[in-house]
Symmetry: C2
Subunit: 352 residues, 2 copies
């Protein structure tokens, strides 16, 4: 017979809960902003506004530099695939600092067992997208990890660009009085991915808006020069996330007009079914800009003359911040004001 | 009663075997070279010698650009971790084109559930390594993938550098008559990782050689200028892989001297136990150079004056190619010649 030693038979003390990475940390929302501030930028000792790309003066040129990883699933979706997305995504980050793209790097992390034909298809899509943007993939890397480890393929692109003459857009340059311009309809990318993933039946109707925006930006800069104060492509976190980030970086408030927000009817239906706010859904082919009032009309005209900005419109204005008031609000159809907040955690994982 | 229709009861035709990505495609050996040539560089329409980094003329500066993904497991190992490795790896790729590093990007793919403290430790290591190299992480990205994917964390860094004056090293610049210089002992990184992973008991003795090499390169260029014809850090695929790649890109042959190859005794023991050839084992802190004979002595002297090149030595010579003869050979202790071939498939997965 064994006896129980009461001194040893204690319950284990509850372990302190370990803080862990959550899916919501990749959402483009509030949780992600905290992770970036507290752990990553904080750990790196980097401060300053969160820009889509960095500006580095080298000799007589301003080099713009950016990177993004792409883990989207499914890898092929209506309107695009992980290969073209990886090119356009980084080209657009360069464009948001007013740059002409010059060269790309491409790093593959491939899962053992990925069919080579699929790798060929992804690579062909990268090549076609780079050609479309007038650039080359000049350097790269390929790693292979074991089965189960990388969902087929992860792509990381980095890009180098050169700042256009008279282009000084920065997340921190927004000013009270600026007009908020949006280049096109919102919500298509995220709902296309979600629909393809969940088989919701919207696949035939909703295509990702994934496209390069550098030529649209060049046209805007040609029309507005330094009066184009800020540029951002509202990817993860959607338009609401982008507006909140810009408002915070520029220390301003933003007031948009609900009636002016272009949500395609199919996107609105899919969002209703999925319980999503289209303002939080990712986009991969539109941009939002804060432009000085004197330049707003010529810049809007230039945008509409470009295929990627055909449906461009003014959606609101930049205001002074007021203490205790939310940074981003929307005027509703009945004239009330509602808060447009960032997403807190995760809405649609693996959308880019 | 059902009857079997013999016309329908055929055996399915054997499906054509699908070509798939293998672990060996990430080895730095022959399989990897084929994947790069046939599928990736071929698919991108890029040709030319396989360089560690690309050179891009922008205004009055030559910008050097490179990228690498890091999937090493374990993430913390004797002599380093995935964070510092991701910095040094890209800094070294820039250095192999004769560049001074200027700025880094950092893209994380994180697995849901990774302890935040581990992410903090990795980020602190990135920051310390960047500081050591005198550069900043200026741009980045963070994605989160579901549990079971990404083995905790994958890192992709890209780097920008500026070509040093009088530095023109290229994989294609080797010439018959060049002296082959090696900056230090080989085999430590791969055996350190393997030993840590498999618990072989060498952990206390073998530390990764992971370190930055840009200052060593600057000293070599100051001593030899354009006579430093080629530079390469023999990472995946080891010294044998690097020599074969350089010999092929330069269309030359290389003859090394077995007795001159610096393999530390602990590395030799570990390799014997594991059945590895130290020439195929990855390094993360040494480089091999082809240098014009007139400059070999001053360059070697400059290398030895630098901590990262203290044990530098001449290990062989570059020859004209001869038809039907292997590109890289070693003179053995008894005066015979053996072929030094690239690894075919996989030797040590996930070493970087």
């Amino acid at each position: 017979m064994t006896t129980i030693d009461p001194l040893r038979a204690t319950c284990p003390a509850p372990a302190a809960e370990t803080e862990r990475v959550l899916l919501g940390h990749g959402s483009g929302g509030r949780l992600m902003a905290e992770l970036l501030d507290d752990v990553i930028a904080g750990g790196l000792g980097e401060t300053g506004p969160l820009e889509d790309a960095a500006l580095i003066g080298l000799g007589d040129v301003d080099v713009v530099f950016s990177t993004d990883s792409f883990v989207v699933t499914p890898r092929f979706f209506p309107g695009g695939d992980i290969g073209s997305l990886a090119v356009y995504g980084t080209v657009n980050d360069l464009a948001m600092r007013g740059a002409r793209p010059v060269a790309l790097s491409l790093a593959y992390v491939l899962e053992e067992g990925l069919p080579l034909d699929e790798l060929r298809a992804i690579t062909a899509s990268v090549a076609a997208a780079a050609r479309e943007c007038g650039i080359h993939v000049v350097t790269g890397d390929t790693k292979v990890v074991g089965r189960g480890a990388a969902d087929g393929a992860y792509l990381t692109t980095a890009g180098i660009g050169v700042r256009l003459l008279d282009a000084y857009p920065s997340a921190a340059n927004g000013m009270a009085g600026d007009v908020v311009l949006l280049s096109g309809p919102i919500g298509a990318h995220g709902t296309a991915i979600m629909s393809a993933r969940e088989g919701l039946g919207f696949e035939s109707e909703i295509h990702s808006d994934s496209r390069p925006l550098h030529e649209l930006v060049a046209a805007m800069i040609a029309a507005g020069g330094p009066q184009v104060h800020t540029l951002r492509d509202p990817t993860r976190g959607g338009l609401a996330g982008a507006l909140n980030e810009l408002a915070e970086a520029s220390d301003v408030a933003v007031e948009v007009d609900d009636a002016a927000l272009p949500v395609p009817p199919q996107v609105a239906s899919a969002c209703e079914l999925l319980g999503l706010d289209p303002l939080h859904v990712a986009n991969e082919g539109c941009l939002v800009a804060f432009v000085a009032p004197a330049a707003a009309d010529p810049v809007l005209t230039a945008m509409r003359a470009h295929p990627a900005g055909r449906y461009a419109r003014a959606i609101g204005v930049v205001r002074e911040t007021a203490r205790d008031l939310p940074r981003v609000t929307a005027r509703t159809l009945v004239g009330a004001r509602r808060v447009v907040d960032m997403l807190i955690g995760e809405q649609l994982p693996r959308i880019c």
